[in-house]
Amino acid sequence: MKVGDIIRYIVENTLETGFPVPAPRDVAYRWALNRNIPRRGRVYLYTGALYQLVPYIDASVKSMERFGRLPGLGKAARLLSRTRLTGIAIRPRRELIEWSERVVASIASLAVRNVEGLAYLYEDDRYSGVLLYEIGAEDAFLKHASRVYAALKERGVEKLITIDPHTTYVMRDIYPKFIDGYDIDVVNYLEVMKDHQASRVLKGKVTIHDPCLYARTLNILEEPRRLLASLGYEIAEAKRSRENTYCCGGPVEAFSPKLSLAIARDRLRELASTATTIVTLCPICYLSLSRARENMSLNITIKDIAELLG
């Protein structure tokens, strides 16, 4: 595929459907139905839909690998993506959908427990547009971000609790550079979590795969370690961890799945030699490492931190 086509695909999808890849309209908040999180409050949980989009990103990349093209490129398919028929255009893996909804729900309950009066945005929990910024499509990013910001302001949002590194980064560090008068306070859920009562039960050894953004930009390094330790987990540090963490390869997936996979394997090998339970803190890392694992015979478990904390 040509570079321009890939970029245009992401840009057009985001501007027309709100998501970078074809996905159901309610993908962001489906997990929240019947959970009775208040609709109004002072502080809002904002997922930015990244966890929830992972199954659809995965399906898009797989389609590119297998057929040399992205799913639903073209007007007809984009129309499809706006309906519940998306399943026809791309085939997300069921277990990934279940995993992402389970993790988001788990993070939400942790956040509800730790933040007084926490509300949820439901339909206004829109995708942040972070990928547009990351690939360098700044005009489109500005357009999309302005829409997201307007929706948040209309809702009266003053503070957001974010749940992944990319959304935290873009909402905290990048939106203010693009949007005049941006005044939303952005806090990552790991930063507001109180420790569990010190556990006396030892739960075994885990290794943390620090996301690049937490490690080198947002400085969220101690929180996951403290939280896991307070639950009784022993943290084994990988050879390259904390500020020196190594990328999962995810960010180049759109342009070279093969390179992305090669990097993910390097990283997974290193993590697997450290502990048999690998803890991720970012849905993209989870996806990259899980995909890398498919063709490697490793006796390991990959878990999002919320699966251990929840």
Partner: protein, 394 residues
Amino acid sequence: MLNLVETIIDNEELQEALRRATAHAFESVKKILASNPQLMEMAREVKEAKERVLSHLDHYISMTVKKLEERKALVYLASSAAEARGIIGDIVGSGKTIVLSKSMSAEEIGLRRFLESRGNRVYETDLGQFLVQLEEGKPMHVTAPAVHMTKEKIAELVAEKLGANLSRQSSPEEIVAVVRRFLRKQFVNADIGISGANAIAADTGSIVILENEGNIRLVTGLPEKHIVVAGVEKIVPNLILAVKTAIVQAAFAGLYPPTYINIISGPSSTGDIEHKRVYGAHGPRELHVILLDNGRRKALSDERLREILRCVRCGRCLFECPVWGHLANHWGGNTYGGPMGILWTAVVEDKREAYPLTLLCLQCKRCSQVCPMSIPLAELIHDLRKEYVTKAYT
């Protein structure tokens, strides 16, 4: 570039060579910095000095020219690669034997092939660069040009090209001995030696060149003529800072202490006969210095891209980069690759050559974090990507 990625990753020999090299480099730099904390302070000092020079580049260039001339060097300013080739071509002529020490600036202007095309015999003398010459390829790392070859492949290559008795089982020592024997003859016969520079001191006109192999001492010491080709950004305010620049470069390249640091201030001379200065004693009689612009001054006017001109070319960002770890300098322009190389390509070739390369950057920022000159490499690559992508889809 994107089309090439698959082939590169499927090249098992290349992948294995890169795996071995990156593992070594990571550990060695870590150890050096841990046991020599003063190096970080030295790096900061060099960074500030480089910034100072870049803010007043023309001033420092004229100061350097003046001092070099006082030291009896012949100095030339070359605005482009073609002009540099022309100048060197005139100095060299044809039918000569030339020994080259690894110089990225020489590589940048395509010097070896140019001189060969003019009927000269040209030998690279840095082992890695010599292997690249035998292979007819391009350097795959800025300080470790043959990083893409395993020992086994190197043995085969040397056996084939030099007719040596080596096999895939030969040891590195055996390979080095063969090359040493071969190059000895060329050093002795060479008419001209050509080197680069790690730093040039504006206050003394001294050329500082770092090495471990010992080839540079011979390249710059044995022939009658010594030609230096170096980018104008290599100028630092004084000799102490020039030596510090070389030390920092060595440390961050994972080689500390460096085996040799050469300081060359003019052609060799003696005053031992009646106190009369005679040029051309045991070393070269002539020293020619070509100060190369080739896009550098233009880059100075680019508020962002100018930051790469501080680069000391230690190559640490390459060894730390997950993408480079699989693609080596295939992920690059004609001369430079990896994080620093994408930016250097934008400087010495054209931004358009650098643009597509930016898409493979992870933005993981390991490069920015380890750069001794605090160049925000990932951020600068992102800037280029932004310029490119806006053009690509609109």
